[in-house]
Structures are given as structure tokens and as C-alpha cells.
């Protein structure tokens, strides 16, 4: 590979550049392969409760579910750390079960995004529950979902 005789001939320079370009392209190929495989397994789609009713799911699909926490729906299970609540887009609802600490901004009537899987019993088992760090905040996906279901009201700020 490094059979250079005298060095600075244009041919070697070009060949060297070719090596560099090839190395770069290989790297890009590797990156593309990594990204594509990772995209296949690791992208999480966002669903509203209505989407969840209407769209086909792969069995055991990991997904994000967003909407409002229905007023009066939050219940603690007897173990003290599992919470059950209902997420609604004001057209449809889904029951959610989550074991863990709820975020500080989790409130009834407020927007929330949960991540997990829909169980065979129709209860969404969340591994993560996200609420935004700002009291006025509505996660954009949730706002869109509400707009789609025709229940969107401009926040009165």
C-alpha cells in the first residue's frame, strides 16, 4: 500500500486522496447501515387514544401515547407505587398503568405523554411518563391530537 518511491508525484497524491475518499465512503456506508437498522427497531411512534383505536398495531409494539389525564381518573394501586389513570383526547380514552415516580408536573386535566406497550387486556402499560417542565405547557403532539379530535381550545393565558 505504501510502496511510494519518490513521493510527490501527482499519481501518488491522487492515489492517497482516493484512499482517503474510500475510507470516508466506507465510514458513511457503515453509518448508514447503523442508522437504518437502528431506525427499524428503535423508532417510537406517537398515538392518540383515537389513533390507537383506528390504526393497526404490531403485536407488542412499543409506542408513545399522549393526551390529557382524565379528571378524577388517577388511582393508586395497593402496592402504593403503581398508578392507574386514563388518557383521553376527549373523543376516546385509554387506561394506563404505570409503576414508578410520576413527574412533578403530572396533574389531572393536563397534557401527558406516556411510553410503553398496549397489553392484551387493553390497558396501556407505561414504562415512562413525561410531563413538561412548564405549567402552561401542552406537549405539541398532544395539542395536535386534540386538534384532530376537534376538542382543541386555545389555552387561556
Amino acid at each position: 500500500m505504501s510502496a511510494t518511491t519518490s513521493g510527490r508525484t501527482p499519481a501518488t497524491r491522487k492515489r492517497r486522496r482516493l484512499y482517503a475518499v474510500l475510507a470516508g465512503l466506507t465510514m458513511l456506508g457503515v453509518a448508514a447501515a447503523l442508522v437504518l437498522t437502528a431506525f427499524q427497531d428503535n423508532i417510537v411512534f406517537f398515538y392518540s387514544p383515537t389513533d390507537l383505536k383506528e390504526k393497526e398495531l404490531h403485536p407488542n409494539q412499543f409506542l408513545r401515547l399522549g393526551g390529557l389525564v382524565e379528571e378524577g381518573s388517577v388511582k393508586k394501586a395497593s402496592d402504593g407505587v403503581t398508578t392507574e389513570f386514563i388518557i383521553t383526547d376527549l373523543s376516546n380514552t385509554v387506561a394506563v398503568r404505570y409503576t414508578g415516580l410520576l413527574p412533578d408536573l403530572f396533574r389531572e386535566g393536563q397534557g401527558v405523554v406516556s411510553q410503553g406497550r398496549l397489553g392484551p387486556d387493553g390497558i396501556f402499560v407505561a414504562t415512562e411518563v413525561l410531563a413538561k417542565h412548564d405549567e402552561n405547557y401542552m406537549p405539541p403532539e398532544v395539542a395536535d391530537a386534540l386538534k384532530k379530535s376537534g376538542q382543541w381550545k386555545e389555552p387561556s393565558k
Partner: protein, 662 residues
């Protein structure tokens, strides 16, 4: 009155920036030294104007002048003074003023310390820097004026977001911005060099210290942010691959590549066009980061202070700046003359590999961050790309990087001896295998990647030690010579080895933190306890405490290991009175090798509390390794050849003198 002065000086700075963006540039084209010379004073005046303006803003916050909208919305008279001041940059408007202040500061420093730059290069660099400043000043004045008044003024302000009322986050934005914006200097130098049509070793010597300075601050800023997320968000995570984090991480990755390729330009006069491209890309990513964070296009766990309307302005700015500079690059770069040749197996070759891996990693992060936005824009599908994606793409690219990082510094310039280098690294291989085996044995039954990660860290750390030993001649000469050589090593060599060693420790910390964490969650009464990893956390009592602008419930946990009291942890649940926001304050005990971490959750109203406790091995090494890496950068910055303002001294070294090894 003070606010008006702030506003007025900001407008003055805008006019100054406009003049500075054109006069020196035209002067350089016409070789008019008078015009070129205006760059220096105007850069200084511009900085002073923006500095005054920022001072006025801080003053308004410090005295809680609620007639200023920005103060009323983001501060409160009850806040401690330090958070009143940090409120000044804890909001969109103020943080943009800080942004341009740092931009102007870098310009000012080049104006002051760049006395021995060629006049045309200096004039052009400062002009380019000023174009960026002009655009951002215009942005502030048109869309985000921090000095707007409010009438009638409210009795008290709305308070700073409680999560931001924290020392880590008081310092995080200035550090991060210093790094982010500091890359503008490398960008301006690159654009100036493209206009000039000349890139040589001297150019790289001028660019390197600025890049290094920015890099040091960016690294420290990212670390601070990560540390803040670790203890403040109360989820015990240190890195979420959150879009906002990625926004600062992408320029870091490409900036790190730039730092290394600039070495090749300086030492070997090669990789010039590539280095220019990296300089442009690094700052472009900083701009994209600013856009992502400031425009409100992201759903992020911590996108504070956002407003979509401003996005359009920054987007236009982004297209002009990035598009324009890449066009200039496409037009001018082919005219730059290539330099020294080298074999694929050589120091240059290994630095190219470093560059390729880092930029590829940056590209995968970029795709993962922006793909959801693009998909949403095109198809309306909402997706999120979380940690699993980044772990599957980023980590595989880091593994060869770490392996190569052990070998690269042992190769010589031009043509290296891979077999020889590997023979010298035999010891590192042994250490690595031993560490991997021991780690795998201790953590049997858990993910094997933990042991591999530690093995890689050990490989790198041992590799750095071998390199250090070889340089100072341990085993080859007597100890006086060894010490003399160690003292005589260039600071940049010291800096490199320290930084690489710190990186090894950071890798170990990241591995432990990601893979070996233990956690338990339970609903407990006072007197109950939770056990985890041999530690017993018992809840002794829950007190009500009162802070300056919040009330809190504080749980006191006694932690025992085998009956012996290890420590007492007191996590809090705070309610900030003004906004009514609740936050969770975790409590952490660190013994230098692992952290014990406790969080107090919601009460159930019947005397029980949800408590979550973690055992986090090696997390302290993350911060330690990061700090050592930053220290390495600082040491390298003190190298005489890189010292700001002293770039020409080396040219006086006789031509025959051997170049210091690095």
C-alpha cells in the same frame, strides 16, 4: 432609564457591527490599511457596547425592576441574589444578549491579541465575525428585545423556572455559550482564509488556541448540564439523548475533530481543505443548535423559553450563513494547495480516522435528532427517536475510536510502524484483558457490554501511560533524566495525554452509569426501609422546611451497610410559591467510586411516601474524567506555541531545530 441605556447601547453595537462587517473587508480587498485598521477599535467598541447593555440587563434583574417585562416574567423579589442575576440569562431574550456578548468578546480578544496576524487576515476575520454579530443583534432588536417596558408594572415578578434555580444551571448557559459561540472564531478564520485563498501552518497556529478555548468551555458546559440533569431532574439520568443535549453535543463532536485536524495542518501542512470544512461545519452546528433550542421546534424534556415565531428569523439566518459559507467553500477550496503527503498508517492517518469516526458519529446524532422533525413536516407522522437509537448507532462508532486512540499517538508522522506500536501496547492489551475478565466475573449474569466498556477504558488509560513512559524514557535512562524530560515535554503533549486519560475515565464512568445501575421503588412509612445493592435506606422522618421562595417536605433517610451507618440523605419535595410548581430535589452521597441516590416521591395522604433509591456505580468517574479532560485542554492552552498573542515566536527557532514531539 438603565433599561433604556441597555437598549440604546445594543442599537449602537448593531451600527458598529454593520460598519465592521464591511469596512475592513473592503479595505482588505483594496489593500487600504486605514480601512483595515478600523476593525480593531470597532471590535473593541462593539464589545463594550454589548457589555454595557448586558450589564444594564443584569442590573435590572439585580434590583428587580419589574417595569421591564423580561424581569417581571422571569424573576421574583424573593429569589436569592445569585438566581436573580442568573435569571438574566435564564430566559430567551437575555440568553441571546449573552450569546452576542460572547461573540463580541471573541472578536475583541482577536482584535487585542492578534497584533501579529497578517493585517488582511485579521481584517477579514473580524469582518466575518461582525457579520454574525450584526445578524444576531438584528434578531434580538427585532424579535426579542429584553428591555421592553411594562405598564403598569406588577407588584412582583413571575419567578424563574424553579428547575433553573440551581447553581449548576446558573453557570451552565454561560459556559456552554462560551464554547458554542467560541467556535465562531474558527469559522471566521476559515472564511477569511477562503477569501484570502491561503491556508498554511501559521494559519492553523492562530486558529488552534481559539478552537481549543471554545472546546474547553463547551466540554465544561456540557458536563455541567449533564451533572445538573443528574441531580436536579430527579430521574438519576446523566444523558438522555434529548434533542437539546444533542444540539450542544454535535458541535462538540465536530469541534473535537477540528481540534485534531488543525494539528495536522500545523505540523504537516496537510488536510487543509478538510480543516476549513470542519471549521465551517462546527459553527454551523452551533447555529443549528441555537435554532433548535430557540425556535421551539422541538419536543424536548427541557426546551425552555421558546417561541416559534422567532424560528423563522433564525432559520433564514441559518440558511444564509451555512449556505453562503458552504458555497464560498465549494468555490474557493479547490484553489487551496495541498500539502505534505503521508502513508495511511501514520499519525496523520490515525487523525483522519479520528476525524472520520467523530464526524460520522455527529452525522448519526444529527439524523436521529432531525429525522423526527423532517418526518413530521413531510408526512405528519409523530415519532420519537430515543436512547436506544443512539446507543445502537453512536456506541459502535466509539469502540473503534477508543481502540485507535490507544494506538494513534504511538505512530510517527508521515509513516508509522503499526507492528512496533502494537508491540509497545502489549502491556495495555494485558491490562485491558485482565480488567474485562475481572469485571465480567464480578458482574456475571449482567450485560457483557459493561465489562467490554471497562476493558476499553483500561486499554486507553494504559495506552496513555505507555505513551507517557516512552516520551520521558522510563526504563531507558536514570530518574534525573526522566524528570528532566517530563518537565521538558511541551505543554500541548501534556495536555493531550491528560485529556486522553480523562476520556478513559469518562468512558469507564459512562459504562458503569449506563449498565450497572440498581434501583428500587417502594411506598414506605416513616421507619420503613428499602434495600438495594447491600445498602439499607430507612426513612427516619419527614420534616417541613421553608426556603427563601419555596416550602418543602424533606425526607431524612439513614443509609446503612451491614449495620454500619454510611450516611444520611435528605431529598426534598419543593413547592415554589410564586408559580406553584413542584420540584424534586434528589439527595446524593458519593464515595468517589459510586453514588447513592435518593428521591422522595408523592405522599399518598395516609402517611406513606413513594421513595425511589438508586445505587449508581462509577458515576463519580464521569464527572472526574470530564474534569480531567477539561484540565488537559487548559494545560494544552498554556503551551507557549499556542499562547494567544505569541504565535510568531516559533518562527524564530532555527530552521534545523527538531519540531517538538506531540
Amino acid at each position: 432609564m438603565i433599561a433604556e441605556i441597555g437598549h440604546f447601547t445594543l442599537i449602537l453595537a448593531l451600527i458598529m457591527a454593520l460598519v465592521q462587517a464591511f469596512l475592513p473587508l473592503v479595505g482588505a480587498a483594496r489593500l487600504n490599511y486605514g480601512w483595515m485598521g478600523t476593525a480593531t477599535p470597532s471590535a473593541i467598541i462593539q464589545f463594550l457596547c454589548i457589555g454595557t447593555s448586558f450589564g444594564c440587563l443584569i442590573y435590572s434583574f439585580a434590583v428587580s425592576d419589574f417595569t421591564v417585562i423580561n424581569v417581571a416574567q422571569n424573576s421574583n423579589s424573593l429569589q436569592p441574589m445569585i438566581y436573580k442575576i442568573s435569571s438574566a440569562w435564564g430566559n430567551h431574550e437575555g440568553s441571546m444578549v449573552l450569546w452576542v456578548l460572547i461573540l463580541a468578546l471573541f472578536g475583541c480578544m482577536v482584535a487585542l491579541f492578534g497584533g501579529n496576524l497578517p493585517p488582511t487576515l485579521k481584517a477579514r476575520t473580524l469582518s466575518v465575525q461582525s457579520m454574525i454579530a450584526f445578524a444576531f443583534l438584528l434578531f434580538i432588536l427585532m424579535t426579542s428585545n429584553p428591555f421592553e417596558r411594562l405598564s403598569p408594572p406588577p407588584i412582583d415578578g413571575r419567578d424563574l423556572n424553579p428547575l433553573l434555580q440551581d447553581i449548576g444551571l446558573a453557570l451552565h448557559p454561560p459556559m456552554l455559550y462560551f464554547g458554542y459561540v467560541g467556535f465562531s472564531m474558527a469559522f471566521s478564520f476559515a472564511i477569511a482564509a477562503l477569501i484570502e485563498g491561503k491556508v498554511d501552518a501559521a494559519w492553523a497556529r492562530w486558529v488552534r488556541p481559539w478552537t481549543l478555548l471554545a472546546w474547553v468551555f463547551l466540554t465544561a458546559g456540557i458536563l455541567l448540564g449533564s451533572w445538573w440533569a443528574y441531580y436536579e431532574l430527579g430521574w438519576g439520568g446523566w444523558w438522555y439523548w434529548d434533542p437539546v443535549e444533542n444540539a450542544s453535543f454535535m458541535p462538540w463532536l465536530v469541534g473535537t475533530a477540528l481540534l485534531h485536524s488543525a494539528v495536522v495542518v500545523e505540523k504537516r501542512d496537510a488536510l487543509k481543505t478538510w480543516t476549513i470544512l470542519l471549521a465551517i461545519l462546527t459553527f454551523s452546528l452551533s447555529l443549528i443548535g441555537t435554532f433548535l433550542v430557540r425556535s421551539g421546534v422541538l419536543t424536548s424534556v427541557h426546551a425552555f423559553a421558546t417561541d416559534p415565531e422567532r424560528g423563522v428569523f433564525i432559520l433564514a439566518l441559518l440558511i444564509i450563513a451555512i449556505g453562503g459559507s458552504l458555497l464560498l467553500y465549494a468555490w474557493r477550496a479547490p484553489q487551496l494547495k495541498g500539502g505534505g503527503l503521508f502513508a495511511p498508517i501514520s499519525r496523520e492517518g490515525s487523525l483522519i480516522l479520528n476525524n472520520l469516526l467523530l464526524t460520522t458519529a455527529a452525522a448519526t446524532v444529527f439524523i436521529g435528532t432531525l429525522y423526527p422533525l423532517m418526518l413530521d413536516a413531510i408526512t405528519g407522522d409523530k415519532i420519537s427517536v430515543g436512547p436506544p437509537f443512539f446507543n445502537a448507532t453512536f456506541v459502535p462508532l466509539m469502540i473503534p475510536l477508543i481502540i485507535a486512540l490507544g494506538i494513534g499517538p504511538l505512530l510517527s508522522w508521515k509513516r508509522g510502524d503499526l507492528t512496533g506500536a502494537l508491540q509497545r501496547l502489549k502491556f495495555a492489551l494485558v491490562v485491558s484483558v485482565v480488567v474485562t475478565t475481572v469485571a465480567a466475573y464480578i458482574t456475571w449474569g449482567r450485560s457483557i457490554f459493561g465489562a467490554i466498556g471497562l476493558g476499553l477504558a483500561a486499554w486507553l488509560a494504559a495506552g496513555v501511560c505507555i505513551e507517557f513512559g516512552a516520551r520521558i524514557g522510563i526504563g531507558r535512562s536514570n530518574w534525573q533524566d526522566v524528570i528532566r524530560r517530563a518537565i521538558g515535554l511541551p505543554r500541548s503533549a501534556w495536555g493531550m495525554m491528560i485529556a486522553h486519560f480523562g476520556f478513559a475515565i469518562l468512558v469507564a464512568g459512562a459504562t458503569g452509569a449506563s449498565i450497572w445501575q440498581d434501583e428500587a421503588i417502594k411506598s414506605i412509612r416513616v421507619g420503613d426501609s428499602i434495600s438495594i445493592a447491600g445498602y439499607e435506606f430507612s426513612l427516619r422522618n419527614v420534616d417541613n422546611v421553608r426556603g427563601p421562595n419555596y416550602v418543602a417536605q424533606r425526607g431524612v433517610f439513614t443509609v446503612r451497610e451491614g449495620g454500619e451507618i454510611v450516611t444520611t440523605l435528605a431529598p426534598e419535595r419543593r413547592r415554589y410559591l410564586v408559580q406553584g410548581t413542584e420540584t424534586t430535589e434528589s439527595a446524593i452521597y458519593s464515595d468517589g467510586i459510586s453514588d447513592l441516590y435518593a428521591v422522595l416521591g408523592q405522599p399518598d395522604g395516609e402517611g406513606r411516601w413513594i421513595a425511589k433509591v438508586y445505587f449508581k456505580p462509577l458515576v463519580p468517574w464521569l464527572w472526574l474524567g470530564g474534569m480531567i479532560t477539561v484540565l488537559g485542554g487548559l494545560v494544552s492552552l498554556t503551551d507557549r506555541r499556542l499562547r494567544v498573542g505569541a504565535p510568531t515566536r516559533r518562527q524564530s527557532v532555527p530552521a534545523g531545530a527538531p519540531a517538538p514531539a506531540e
